[in-house]
């Protein structure tokens, strides 16, 4: 697929996944409402809770990530070559220059975060900096800066709200089941309420998992999109392909990373399984398989 098709196909799939997610949540709200007889007030409260917790993390995403990983800022004079690369990529995309950070670890990786290009931060590990040639660095940095340009932090922030929303909904429902009676207007309706009760319990158990799977599917699509957007900027897919190949060979994970921040890195910085994973295990990956990414890049 050529690069423009890659980009539009990934954008289109993002919207599709979001639409499905919203339908899923609406169904959930409906079922739970029917089962308990409380209707939509449920949904409202859950949404507010989820919203408050997630908006903070979205707004301060750059500071939070930098603090948890322990990255340090660098000046132009510390590493002019790296600085120039970031500067030139920003010129190529017509964006303001992001802040540049380094993370001291041998594991080759990079991440970018920030709620929009005006508040962007890009970070590379010392391992990556040493291991990569100039065109490979450019490929990696272009990918990372594309995440900010494509407003992925914002998108994944919204998705995080929705996932939290689902978890809270399911939780509230189960709590009600356990502790309380059912109030509300239509609790005396014949058999209907019973059916919804059963469906509701099923949903309550499965929905958080389903929501997380949707979130991960979205994360993978955005990774492909960032690959393609980065190549549109550098016009040199081989650079990123070579970099990914080198990263794939490296085994040691980064210690200061957890599940929440793993999504932002160019490749999952936590322990990797060797060899081919089963399709099912693959559903739980934040990043697409490296071999696929390399193959797609080389076909551009």
């Amino acid at each position: 697929m050529n690069i423009y098709n890659q980009i539009s196909s990934n954008k289109w799939r993002t919207w599709l996944i979001m639409a499905l997610f919203i339908i899923f949540i609406t169904t959930l709200g409906f079922v739970f409402g029917k089962a308990t007889g409380y209707g939509l007030s449920y949904a409202g409260i859950a949404l507010i809770f989820a919203g408050i917790t997630s908006i903070g993390s979205y707004y301060y995403s750059d500071k939070i990530v930098l603090a948890t990983t322990g990255a340090t800022p660098i000046k132009k004079s510390d590493d002019p070559e790296l600085y120039h690369i970031v500067e030139n990529l920003a010129i190529g995309d017509g964006l303001p220059m992001p802040k540049v950070y380094m993370l001291r670890t041998d594991s080759p990786n990079a991440f970018a975060t920030g709620r929009d290009p005006q508040h962007a931060v890009v970070c590379v590990t010392t391992g990556l900096r040493q291991m990569m040639s100039k065109s490979e660095l450019e490929g990696v940095l272009a990918h990372e800066m594309s995440h900010v340009k494509n407003l992925d932090t914002r998108l994944m922030g919204i998705v995080a709200i929705l996932v939290g929303f689902v978890a809270i909904l399911a939780n509230m429902f189960m709590n009600q089941l356990w502790w309380g009676g059912f109030g509300g207007r239509d609790d005396r309706e014949n058999g209907n309420s019973q059916i919804f009760l059963v469906i509701g319990i099923l949903f309550a158990i499965l929905s958080p998992i389903v929501a997380t799977l949707i979130q991960l599917a979205l994360s993978r699509k955005r990774e492909y999109l960032a690959d393609a957007s980065g190549v549109l900027l550098t016009r040199y897919p081989e650079g990123l392909a070579d970099a990914l190949e080198k990263i794939a060979k490296y085994k040691t994970p980064i210690p200061s990373v957890n599940n929440a921040t793993a999504q932002l890195f160019i490749e999952n910085p936590m322990t990797k399984t060797k060899g081919k994973e089963s399709w099912f295990a693959g559903l739980f990956d934040t990043h697409p398989p490296i071999e696929d990414r390399i193959r797609i890049l080389r076909s551009m």
Binding site: H84, N88, L89, I91, G92, G94, R235
Partner: protein, 182 residues
Amino acid sequence: MVMWIVIGIIVIVVLFIWSAYNGLITAKIRIGEAFSQIDVQLKRRSDLIPNLVETVKGYAKHEKTVLEEITKARTSLMSAQGAEEKAKANNQLGDTLKSLFAVAENYPQLKANENFLALQEELSDTENKIAYARQFYNSTVMDFNTKLQVFPTNVFGGMLNFHPAEFFAATEEEKKVVQVKF
């Protein structure tokens, strides 16, 4: 009844033309900005020249011709009027720079000089920046041309006085393989 339908259609068409016009004018202004960003980088290159000339003079006094040509090229760039003159002057400056760096190969002391190396790095980076600025300019042109030429905007784009913009193109001279003679 029919009258309402007609009015409805007219309203829709007007709204469409309004939003299409705004989209086009925004895209066009972005092209202008991207174009002047190229100038920002070209000026940066031009500003590095005096420093370069001074550094080289210290080691290669005999290479008067090359140094004179560079200074001349820069002066003619600063006095150039209009886009075409400026473009020609910039191309000429680029050529003289190439000669200068080729000549510098003969002077090992000059090549080892830190100042010279720093300037060389700056100029090389500026060339990269010029290239990226041109690439971005092309992407804004592509955006505008696409918006102008898709249906149905293409039907009345000309009426609103919008014409396709031009991509940045290298001259025939620039496309030739560079000969570096020592």
